[in-house]
Amino acid sequence: MTTKVKFFLFFSILLLLLLSIVAIFAPWIASHDPNAINLNLQYVSPNSLHWFGTDNNGSDIFSKVVWGARLSLGISISVVVISATVGLLLGSIAGVIGGKTDYIIMRTTDIVYAFPNFLFALSLIAFLGPSFKNLLFALCFSSWASYARLVRLEILSIKEKDFINNAKALGANSIRILFFHIWPSLINPVLVYMTCSIAGVSIAEAGLNFLGLGVSLDTPSWGSLLNQGRSSLSLAPHISLFPGLAILILVLAFNLLGEGLREYLDPKQKHSI
């Protein structure tokens, strides 16, 4: 491990640990009720009582940012885990069975893959209506396809390797080969892809909330807070500043983790961004 990789991994894990603590203990860390409206306290600058100031409704921004961590981390992690699982299953079925099954699964995957992810999620929520469930569904639905493609391609190249032929010669059936021989060698590429794509998911989540097409409006989220602050950028830039910094830190941590993990687990792939 080079110093650069060590630094990337250490720094990103530290940041993510910190954010996770904030997300898990949000009810105890938040100083105020994030949805409390107090029209006497509009646009208050950061002070000792309201650490990050207040927004146009007089709600405490610090508490909103703390609760927003829960949403951002929760959505990003669950979307990546769910879509990786779906992609792993479908890609495995396509890669192992082959033939017509492979063709049908992969053409469906192609259609989903060809669609621009963000637009896909955005249009789904535009018609389904904004809510936590719909946001989760839309983001998962738009991102499983790349996992299925990755898994299938990996399986096709693993299938030709000697150790698979050896296992076959010893009488292992395809289920056993899949579970005990193929999946263990898939862990690294899938894990690397998961960490590399999680930054994109959290950007998409915040972006959808920014446009008002994420969770319902009474759930505090960084994206919607950023959008709220947009109309008073000169009067109260702190409304946008703190959720903006939070998004930047989260995405940076995920990017560093992805970069570090890729160079650690999979040093051959130099080209991917």
Partner: protein
């Protein structure tokens, strides 16, 4: 060869069909009755009935699907629920603004990223290279909806150098294009750098050096020509990513393009326009990716 090409084109048609079907199905995934969703509770029964027929919901799903494709093939994407103007006319009005913005962003990104990429590849692991890669990692972690308001705050409110969007003079293009160009340029710089470093480690570069060619000739005649392939592929792929990026950027900078049209239509629940925008953006995206794929295949065939 023929069967391979045949399946390739069949795959493309399938993707286009899938994209079109998706935009058709959107109106049917609205929970409950779409007419109630659009008009709200206050609407009269007559109005509801009218809209019901206008959307063609009285027919069976299969017939609606057939009608949709018939209209699509004759270039009709339906009509706005409010202004009654055709969706195609809306798209025609807003597409130029989006094309202008994305080309400007791409131009800007290429303008600064290729020299930076080349320079940091030639000075690999220098202070300049390291600080540039740190900076590009930061830029990559700054989504458009963060960068946009920040640029507005800095350049339009604090220092009042550039106007914050609204199409018109050329100078109005600067901020929205910059907010799209920065992350794009970061990606291009990285690809350009790593591709040039790879090329410079090839044998024929060593041969050229041994022949006594000047560094200038080696870098610009031999290395850059071969290193540019991945950069062009990335430009193509990023161009399509740019299209979806414009949805947010256009909203922030009040840029009258297709992305803003889409979001305004979503807010007004003008669903035919939403469907039209989704279809057109997705089709352009698919086509650009296809062209990139072609260019990639063509250049690879040439290299062999």
């Amino acid at each position: 060869m023929f069967t391979k090409n045949f399946f390739y084109f069949l795959g493309i048609l399938l993707v286009i069909w899938g994209v079109a079907s998706f935009s058709f199905l959107l109106i049917h995934i609205i929970p409950g009755n779409p007419v109630d969703q659009i008009l709200g509770d206050m609407a009269s029964a007559v109005e509801k009935q009218k809209l019901y027929y206008q959307l063609g919901l009285n027919k069976s799903l299969f017939n609606q699907y057939l009608d949709f494709f018939k209209n699509l093939l004759s270039g009709n994407l339906g009509y706005s629920l409010y202004s009654k103007a055709s969706v195609v006319s809306y798209l025609k009005n807003s597409l130029p603004a989006t094309i202008e913005l994305s080309f400007a962003a791409m131009f800007m990104a290429i303008l600064f990223s290729i020299p930076l990429g080349v320079f940091s590849a030639l000075k690999k692991y220098s202070f300049f290279d390291n600080s540039l890669s740190t900076f590009s990692l930061f830029t990559l972690s700054t989504p458009g909806f963060l960068l946009g308001p920040f640029l507005i705050w800095l350049f339009a409110l604090k220092f009042q150098i550039f106007p914050a969007g609204e199409r018109g003079e050329l100078i109005n293009l600067f901020l929205p294009a910059l907010s799209l160009a920065l992350p794009l340029g970061a990606v291009l710089t990285r690809v350009c750098r790593s591709s040039l470093i790879d090329t410079l480690s090839e044998d024929y570069i060593r041969t050229a050096k041994a022949k006594g060619l000047s560094n200038f000739k080696i870098y610009f005649k031999h290395a850059l020509k071969n290193a540019i392939g991945p950069v062009i592929t990335t430009i193509g792929l990023q161009f399509s990513a740019l299209l979806t990026g414009t949805v947010i950027t256009e909203t922030i900078f009040d840029w009258p393009g297709i992305g803003k049209l889409l979001l305004d239509a979503i807010k007004q629940r003008d669903y035919p326009i939403v469907q039209g925008c989704v279809l057109v953006i997705a089709l352009i995206y698919v086509l650009i990716n296809l062209l990139t794929d072609f260019a990639h295949k063509y250049s690879q065939a040439n290299q062999k």
